[in-house]
């Protein structure tokens, strides 16, 4: 199979993620979009692992999955905190700090 098929798929996912991160207001949705991007990366890695016959790629993917989980945990906590103080999950409503 063509390596590029996987890579381009991941590129598409990655850019979709980017779009999401930029265009979504809701914090949770932004987090989801980030997950999309990370998945794209994982697909890359696993594909390359298969391509290069080097298991390091898979290991890398595993680490990413783990850390992503931690990230999501922290991220959600922060969104929650904000929601508790600002009463809104929307990111564009937090802009006290500027200039």
């Amino acid at each position: 199979m063509q390596l590029n098929e996987f890579l381009i798929l991941s590129a598409v996912l990655f850019c979709t993620g980017i779009y999401g991160v930029l265009a979504r207001r809701n914090g949770v949705l932004v987090l989801m979009s980030i997950e999309l991007m990370l998945n794209a990366v994982n697909i890359n890695l696993v594909a390359f692992a298969a391509f290069t016959k080097n298991v390091a790629g898979q290991v890398f993917a595993l680490f990413i999955i783990t850390i992503a989980a931690a990230e999501v945990g922290v991220g959600l906590a922060i969104v929650l905190l904000i929601y508790r103080n600002v009463r809104s999950p929307n990111l564009d409503e937090v802009d006290q700090l500027k200039g």
Partner: protein
């Protein structure tokens, strides 16, 4: 591969890990709020011991098939990180102690981040670098938002988190492609691959990888989080972010560029050049307009980051280690003066009750000691002899001259101009401190400087004075870091 693990080499990490767990336990089972702090401090100091013993024992130790290396380089930086962490702790005690903060948890997170730093200075492959970097970052996301009931602090945490997560995603994408091209995650292999002619994709992949570090060192245009986060976060954390975690980013950058991408110069040099120039200029210009001291320091540290990037950007044309040394020396000195500056800000803010510049007017009259120290740190940042800053700038320019290419010289000129511009806002603060009369009803609180804070101030002041007069200390360290042993 040797199944037996060299625990001496791992001792610093082990001590730190043990400390973290200990702190957690202590926090669970005691009421004394001071105890976790003490434990954390001793842990940090304790993990300095094996660093010293390793330094004494000399020879380089390669573990896990080259994924993890303990050599002078990593030892110097580990030492730096631990000291920085220690100072940060000194700054934190009273700050955290006085607010209604979670104490034990605070130290757990701080130490975890430090653990990441200690690891990153010995990490020699993409995976370790990535993991270490995240370990540095993720706890600080939380710490930035630590003042739970202050929406600014929350905002600081949020912004830091989002930009951080994004840039690590980008970095990962880059790393994945680097892996795909070089067929390995070990830097040595990548180095070998980079010596060949590479496709354009490699250059872009390198760039995407660098983005992650650029974010950590808050290089323009990946700096947006910095001012807001610095302003919102608890000041000790700001100090920590602007020194330790930033240095972490630089170390990773240094490692990956020097041991990984170095051979394909035109993939990373232009990028770093642009980042350096942009950071210096924009950082300085933005700093001119600030009315909040912390925010001003945030921009100033962006600019300083730009200065640190200069030697890296020209490293490709420098024979020998002058450029690398310049980076390390600059990091060491920068750490000292910036920590000092933030310590001074904390001390001053305890007096004036705010970090707003207008409240600092006439501080030279109301509390001369703090004002004097603050001034010292500011002018050291401005690079005026005999304060350590001049030497940092000096080695930077030296590297530029060593490279002696047109691009290098242009960058040098930009740096020179910026170092003059920078004087404006540093002097601006000094002006408020000394030339202006205190606002009526000044001296909000005339609380004494707490011991820990005083210790931090004194320590940093001594460092910048001694190093300023006898820079050989740090110069030698920088030299050692890149000596084969």
């Amino acid at each position: 591969m040797n199944p037996t693990v060299d625990f001496h080499a791992l001792a610093p990490e082990i001590v730190l890990t043990a400390t973290i767990i200990l702190v957690l336990v202590v926090d669970l089972f005691t009421e004394d709020p001071k105890l976790p702090a003490r434990v954390a401090t001793f842990g940090v100091l304790g993990s300095l011991v094996p660093v010293l013993t390793l330094a004494v024992s000399g020879h380089t130790r390669v573990l896990f098939g080259g994924a993890f290396v303990v050599d002078n380089y990593s030892l110097v930086l580990t030492g730096f990180f631990l000291v920085a962490a220690y100072v940060t702790l000194l700054l934190s005690f009273d700050y955290i102690g006085e607010g209604d903060y979670y104490q034990g948890e605070y130290y757990v997170l701080l130490l975890t981040s430090v653990l990441g730093m200690v690891v990153i200075s010995s990490a020699r492959d993409l995976i370790s670098l990535f993991v270490a970097l995240e370990t540095i970052t993720i706890p600080t996301f939380v710490l930035a938002a630590w003042r739970k009931h202050d929406t600014k602090s929350n905002e600081a945490g949020l912004k830091y988190f989002l930009i951080g997560a994004l840039s690590s995603a980008i970095m990962l994408y880059g790393m994945s492609i680097v892996f795909g091209l070089s067929k390995s995650t070990v830097l040595a292999e990548i180095h070998r691959y980079a010596t060949r002619s590479t496709p354009a994709l490699f250059a872009v992949a390198v760039f995407l990888t660098l983005v992650g570090f650029a974010f950590k060192v808050s290089a323009v245009p990946f700096h947006f989080w910095a001012p807001d986060t610095y302003e919102g976060a608890p000041t000790p954390i700001t100090a920590f972010l602007s020194v330790a975690s930033k240095a972490g980013g630089f170390v990773a950058l240094l490692t990956i560029v020097r041991l990984g991408f170095f051979p394909s110069g035109d993939s990373w040099q232009p990028i770093l050049w642009v980042l350096a120039a942009a950071s210096m200029t924009l950082g300085n210009l933005a700093a001119l307009r600030q009315t909040n001291v912390v925010r001003m320091l945030a921009y100033s540290s962006i600019a300083q980051g730009g200065f640190i990037l200069v030697p890296l950007a020209v490293a490709g044309d420098v024979h020998g280690n002058a450029a690398w040394e310049a980076v390390v020396i600059y990091i060491l000195i920068y750490g000292a003066m910036n920590l000092g500056a933030f310590a001074a800000v904390i001390a001053a803010a305890r007096r004036t009750g705010s970090a707003d510049m207008s409240t600092f007017r006439g501080l030279g009259r109301t509390s001369p000691a703090i004002a004097t120290l603050f001034t010292l740190f500011l002018f050291s940042l401005a690079g005026i002899p005999p304060l350590a800053g001049w030497f940092a700038k000096f080695v930077m320019f030296r590297a530029v001259f060593e490279a002696n290419t047109t691009t290098a010289v242009v960058l040098g000129v930009i740096a020179a101009v910026n170092s003059v511009i920078a004087f404006f806002y540093y002097a601006g603060v000094a002006r408020r401190l000394w030339f202006e009369d205190p606002p009526e009803g000044a001296l909000v609180r005339t609380s004494r400087i707490p011991v820990a804070l005083g210790a931090a101030l004194g320590l940093m002041a001594t460092v910048i004075l001694v190093v300023g007069v006898y820079p050989q200390f740090f110069a030698r360290l920088g030299q050692l870091a890149f000596q084969r042993s």
